[in-house]
Structure formats: structure tokens, C-alpha cells
């Protein structure tokens, strides 16, 4: 690592620099040559191949420069990096916003100097340049040394602990905001829809957190329980004419049963193997839903799923004869957002119930046994903890919340089909849990806002959303494998000991 003061005096190892940067550029060139270099395009009368070698060259050059900057940082020369990256960043930002500053014509000319001409990629380049500039500045500040991984871990742990502690204040604040959100002036239909979506994922994240975060069972098929819950509600409502609130416990029960059915065969599996089987289970449920036409209507899906009612008062403009509606009962003018607001509160209450349940059960023997199972299954057995039952309860309770979430999804959409329950849903929910920090409740909230809220707001970037998503996951795995806010609070303390007494070796000395 760099960091010695002598680094200022050693000459730049040019050979290493060119070797590494050259190799990187070569790899990028090899990858880009066919992937970026050629593009098929619809032309009248068929497809045509257009070439984009200029982009390939730009990419290769950028890769060379970027790698060279990395090598320079490592060798302890932040100054040249800073001197290049900072102006480049500023220049790029100016170019991006050129139409706001200059006339349209000038802007059009200036924009041609952006490296790729595709806004998202250009922004990515800008951000990367900014990252280099910041890193170089930090390195410069620390007299040529970059932060070691360990220091960064410690710093992040401290942040995690602080956020966790702040969660006591932050939690009620976020909750208060969530409660008044529908009445804020900015809360239009679109914002509310996004909020409902985010809260749904927060709830699913909290549910999955029981399985993955607490019990340490990597579940890639969580969407299966979501689907079971949704179809349970839809089918019960259609065949037996039952309302949402009656069906909700049944849907949870069905999903929990599905959780036990999945749990039994996979009891002996751990880690990757478990993940693969749960992945398969998720697909199995989807394929059953797709093919069991008589029961599930297959790919046609189920429509006309009843909407939830407010204690029996529906949210419709013109109800059938003799049925009182929400707005007529309360003497309000009919507004279509009433139903949305109601849905929002329903999911908010369901999510909060999930959270309270998890926080509570974590301090009970079952919850502690889940965490112990994550830590060491063999030690659990030696203490007389039944690993089978412990795993099954984790699976079934996690699945139950998935089922509740599914019911809500069905009633919100009014239409469900197997299309809604693909693997990507499982992946997103898991990503929320992992990104937030396994086992961290507040982490799930932040991660859900980050992963669901932001992409919804930036929907225009649609085809790059998943790219950014993947990149974010990779970065998290590299920098912070335990998640953003992984910090564990003990579940109990000795009495007459203040709860914030030092608990790590370093702090006690």
C-alpha cells in the first residue's frame, strides 16, 4: 500500500503503470470491439449493421486513463490524478448543463464533446471522474496515503452504530413523515403510488430479513410466497366471495404452509446449495401457476379481484343499489385518490406490524435461536436447540409475511398473473435486505427507498436501471459485504447495567 512518506521521493514506476493500464485497455477493447463496435439497426427493408468504432476507442482510452489513475494513486501520486480528474469533472458537468448556460446552438456543439453522446453513460463517466477526484483529494489530505480497508470498515461500523442509535429518533421521524405523507401538498397520485410500492417492498424486506438476516438462510425464492399469498387471496375472494380482511390471515397461513413445505426438504442444506433450491422453488411455483390452467387461469391471470373496503364501505363512485360508499358515508366529495390513500395506510399498517413483530421476536428465545443458527449450527445442536424446528419457524414466519404482502399486491392491482412473480422480484427483495445490512430493520427502509424509490423516480432511464442496480450491488459487495448499516444490538443486558456500556474490546480499555 501507499502511505509511506518516502513515496513522494520514489519515481513513478512507469513500467508498471503502462503495463497495467495497457492490459486494462486491451481487455476493454476486446470486450467492446464486438459488443459496442457493431450494432444492428432497423432500416427499411431489413436490418443493417452500423459500426461505432469511435465509441470503442473512447472507451478504451478512458479505461487506460482510469487504470493509470488507479496505479498512480496506489503509488502515492494523488496530485496528477487530482489535477486531471477535477478539471475533467467540472468540464463534463458544464458540458452536461451546457443548454442551460449557452444558447441552443452552442450547447449542441459543446455536447458533441461529451465522450459517448448517450446521457446515462456520460453521467457515469462524470461520476467516475468525480470519484477519482475525491479519492485523490482525500489521499492528498492524508499525505499520500489512502484509507486502508480496515479503517474504512471501522468507519462504516461506527456510522452503522450511530445510525442504529439514531434510529430511535429517526424511526419515529420517518414514521411521522410516512403518516402525514398523503396530506402533504406534493403527494399526488404518482408519489402515492411510488410510496405504496416502496412500503410494500419495505414490508417484504422485513419479512425476508427474518429468513436471511436473522436465521442466515439465503432464500432466493421469496417471491414464491408472495405469489402464494396473492393467488390465495384472489382465488378465495373469487370462489367464496370473501373480503380482503377475511382472506388476509388465510393467505398468510397458506404462504406459511408453503414455507414449511419448502423448508422440510432443504433442512440439511446450507449456503449456496440452499440458495439454489429456494431459487428452484420460486420458479416451480411460478411455473405451476402458469400451467395449472383450470385452477389459476394460467398466463391469462386472475382479474376482478375485489378491492379492500373500509369496514365494509367500498371506494367506488357509483355503487350498486343499496350499498353505501366511503364518500357518501362520510359526506365527502368522491375523489379517486381516497382509495389510494386508504391502500397506502393499509400497507403502512401491515409493514409496521411486520416490523413490531420482528423487533419483538428477536428478543424471544426463537429469535435468539435464529441468530444462533446463523452463527453456528453445530453449537446450537450441542445446546439442545432443535435446528429443524428453528429453521422451519424462520421459513414459515418469513413466508407468512410474504403472503400478507402478496395479498396486498393482489388487492391493489386487482389483477395478477404469473408475470408478476418472476425471479427478479426475489432478487430485488434480497438486494434490499443485503444492501440494508443483514438483520438491520432501518437498513431495509433505506435500501428500499434507494432501490425502489429512486428507480421509480428516474423511470426515464429505464433500460439502464438494471445496469445501475447491478453496479450498485457489485460495489456494495466489494466495499461493504455486510451491508450498509450492519450493526447488531444485543437482545438483552444484565440488569442494573446501562445499555450503552462499552461492548467492544477496544472501547472498554
Amino acid at each position: 500500500m501507499a502511505g509511506e512518506t518516502s513515496a513522494d521521493h520514489t519515481p513513478i514506476d512507469a513500467q508498471e503503470l503502462f503495463k497495467e493500464a495497457g492490459a486494462t485497455a486491451l481487455v476493454v477493447f476486446a470486450l467492446c470491439f464486438s459488443l459496442v463496435g457493431f450494432k444492428t439497426e432497423d432500416v427499411p427493408g431489413g436490418l443493417d449493421i452500423i459500426t461505432r468504432f469511435d465509441d470503442v476507442l473512447v472507451a478504451t482510452a478512458l479505461a487506460f486513463i482510469g487504470r493509470a489513475a488507479l496505479v498512480l494513486l496506489r503509488q502515492g501520486y494523488p496530485l496528477p490524478v487530482l489535477a486531471t480528474a477535477l478539471p475533467v469533472t467540472i468540464l463534463l458537468i458544464v458540458l452536461h448543463f451546457s443548454d442551460a448556460v449557452f444558447s441552443t446552438d452552442t450547447a449542441a456543439v459543446l455536447k458533441r464533446f461529451l465522450p459517448f453522446g448517450a446521457p446515462v453513460i456520460d453521467w457515469l463517466v462524470t461520476i467516475l471522474a468525480a470519484v477519482f477526484a475525491i479519492r485523490a483529494a482525500i489521499a492528498r489530505q492524508r499525505a499520500g496515503s489512502t484509507m486502508t480497508t480496515e479503517e474504512r470498515e471501522k468507519a462504516m461500523d461506527r456510522i452503522g452504530a450511530r445510525v442504529q442509535r439514531a434510529a430511535r429518533i429517526l424511526g419515529p421521524l420517518i414514521l411521522g413523515f410516512a403518516i402525514i405523507l398523503p396530506f402533504l401538498p406534493m403527494a399526488d397520485r404518482r408519489i402515492l403510488d411510488i410510496a405504496i410500492l416502496v412500503v410494500t417492498y419495505i414490508m417484504l424486506g422485513w419479512g425476508l430479513n427474518i429468513v436471511v438476516g436473522l436465521a442466515g438462510l439465503l432464500d432466493l425464492g421469496y417471491v414464491a410466497f408472495y405469489a402464494v399469498g396473492a393467488y390465495s387471496y384472489a382465488l378465495l375472494a373469487q370462489h367464496y366471495d370473501l373480503g380482503f380482511w377475511v382472506c388476509l390471515p388465510f393467505a398468510g397461513l397458506m404462504a406459511a404452509t408453503a414455507g414449511i413445505i419448502l423448508g422440510f426438504p432443504v433442512l440439511r442444506l446450507r449456503g449456496d446449495y440452499l440458495a439454489i433450491v429456494t431459487l428452484g422453488f420460486g420458479e416451480m411455483i411460478r411455473i405451476i401457476l402458469l400451467n395449472w390452467y383450470e385452477f389459476t387461469k394460467g398466463p391469462d391471470g386472475l382479474s376482478g379481484i375485489p378491492r379492500p373496503t373500509f369496514f365494509g364501505l367500498p371506494f367506488t363512485r357509483s355503487p350498486p343499489e343499496g350499498v353505501e360508499t366511503f364518500h357518501s358515508f362520510f359526506n365527502l366529495a368522491y375523489s379517486p385518490t381516497d382509495r389510494i390513500i386508504f391502500l397506502y395506510y393499509v400497507i403502512l399498517v401491515m409493514a409496521l406490524a411486520t416490523n413490531l413483530f420482528t423487533l419483538r421476536i428477536r428478543k424471544l428465545p426463537v429469535g435468539r435461536a435464529w441468530e444462533a443458527l446463523r452463527e453456528d449450527e453445530i453449537a446450537c445442536r450441542s445446546l439442545g436447540i432443535n435446528p429443524r424446528n428453528t429453521k422451519l419457524t424462520a421459513f414459515s414466519i418469513g413466508a407468512m409475511f410474504g403472503g400478507f404482502g402478496g395479498s396486498f399486491f393482489a388487492t391493489r392491482q386487482g389483477f395478477i398473473s404469473p408475470e408478476s412473480f418472476t425471479f427478479i422480484e426475489s432478487a430485488v427483495i434480497l438486494a434490499i435486505v443485503v444492501l440494508g445490512g443483514m438483520g438491520s430493520q432501518i437498513g431495509v427502509v433505506f435500501a428500499a427507498i434507494l432501490l425502489i424509490g429512486l428507480p421509480e423516480i428516474f423511470r426515464e432511464l429505464h433500460q439502464y436501471r438494471m445496469l445501475a442496480f447491478g453496479a450498485a450491488m457489485v460495489l456494495i459487495m466489494v466495499w461493504r459485504p455486510q451491508g450498509l448499516l450492519a450493526h447488531r444490538e444485543p437482545t438483552l443486558h444484565l440488569p442494573e447495567r446501562p445499555p450503552d456500556a462499552p461492548r467492544v474490546a477496544g472501547a472498554a480499555k
Partner: protein, 282 residues
Amino acid sequence: MSAGTPLLGVEHLTMRFGGLLAIDDVSFEAADKKITAIIGPNGAGKTTVFNCLTGFYQPTIGRLTLHHPKGDFLLERIEGYRIAKDAGVARTFQNIRLFPRMTVLENLVLAQHNVLMRASRYTFAGLLGMKVYRDAEAKAVELARYWLDKVALTEQADWEAGNLPYGDQRRLEIARAMCIEPTILCLDEPAAGLNPRESAVLNELLLFIRDEHEIGLLLVEHDMSVVMGISDHIVVLDYGRKIADGTPDEVRRDPAVIRAYLGEEDDEELPPEVARDLDELR
């Protein structure tokens, strides 16, 4: 055979891994309220005996009877976790197995899982925060505190177990095993990696457990100072067979034991650690 009421009977225990005969027809008894040690050179099958007793291996042949106040348990017949839960066989591991990211106190309370599960009425009473569970939890914490005091870790109760120094982790693991309120405590090389001072503290702790809690102890050990100092009864294994069985004095003089530790009249080129063990043995 040993004096005192038998606590654990091992009869014709044989364990075969494919073509390898790890334990060959070993029988011995461990007495209640006594410390029984299983010793032997590396690869003698000590830990295998242990893993059979604590349900981690299924013995090929043999009967393992635990004379519990509630009646006899045939350990080879019952499921792994029930050996701890019902029969009350507690164990520690050669390479410590704590729950490293949970606190010291949580480790000890986890050992009382089954008691607490019943008290929480399998979670339902616990979720409602009923008194019966709160009382049980307070009691569990008190038991944990008792053992924390015994192993001098009260100050570190809120540390993550993984952050404790090695010697403390060993003692914590023993305390955790005692928290299941066992009928027999099985220790797999408890002195491994301890310095002489820590080793002396350990001896005291084990004697305390034997005398004050009146349970049987079974230990697998390399460290002769521990074995000879505190054992009431020693079983010597070599190549999976029992070669001696008796009090420390009897075992010390047994020619078969000396041969096993020495090799056949081959005194000259002993590795120093073997020579040291041998000196202590004599």
C-alpha cells in the same frame, strides 16, 4: 472399574469410517460426580468417542447408556440435539464454537433455550409479553450472571463473544455448557492453547463444577498437568483400542501406556513435547 455410581456406560463402542476402524470395541464407565479423562496419543480416537457420545456421529456398534435421574437414556438411539435437551449431555469443542457475533450474555441465555421456549409458551406468551415469560427470562439472566461470576466474565457480559481473548472464550464455552444444567459435562481438550496460569484457573473451575454442582465430567485431554492433576479416573486409548483404565497412579505405571506414549524401547529420538509429556506421566 471406577468407584462411585456409574453415570455413563460405554459398551463395545465401535466406529468405522469406511475401511478405517477409528474405535475398536471400547468399553468404560464414567462415574457420577467424578472427573473421567480420556487420553491417548494423536489419532487414538478420543474425539471420535466424544462425537459418538454427543450425537455428532452414529456409532457402528455399541451401546452408550446415560444413567439420568429421570431414567436411562440410550444415547446412540436419540437425535443429536435431544442428547443435550433431554439427556443433559453438555459439551464443549476442541476449536471453540461460540456464537461470535452475539454477546457473552446472549451466549449463556441461548443455552437455556428450551427452558425459555417452554416459559414463552412456544413464543405466544412471549409475544404478548406475559409475566410468566418475563420471570423466566429474569431467572435465565440470573443463572447466566452466576456463571459469569464463576468464570470472571461479568465485566465483559455485553462484549461480542468473538472479541474475547482466547482463554476467556474457553471459559465462556464451559459456562455456556453449564447453563443447560447438564447431568454430564463433556470437555474436548479444554486446556488446548491455554498458558499455565489459565490452565490452573481451568483446573479450579472443573473441580468446582465437580464438587459444587455434583455432576460427572468427561474430558478428552492432551495436557498431562490437567489430566493428572484433577482426574479421578483415566481411560487410555491407542489406535482406537482401550489400553488402560484406572486411577491416575495406576495409569502412570501401566507398561502399555508407557509403550504407547514412548513406542517400543525407542527412547532416544523423542520429539521434545512427547518427552515432556512422558516426564509428567512418570
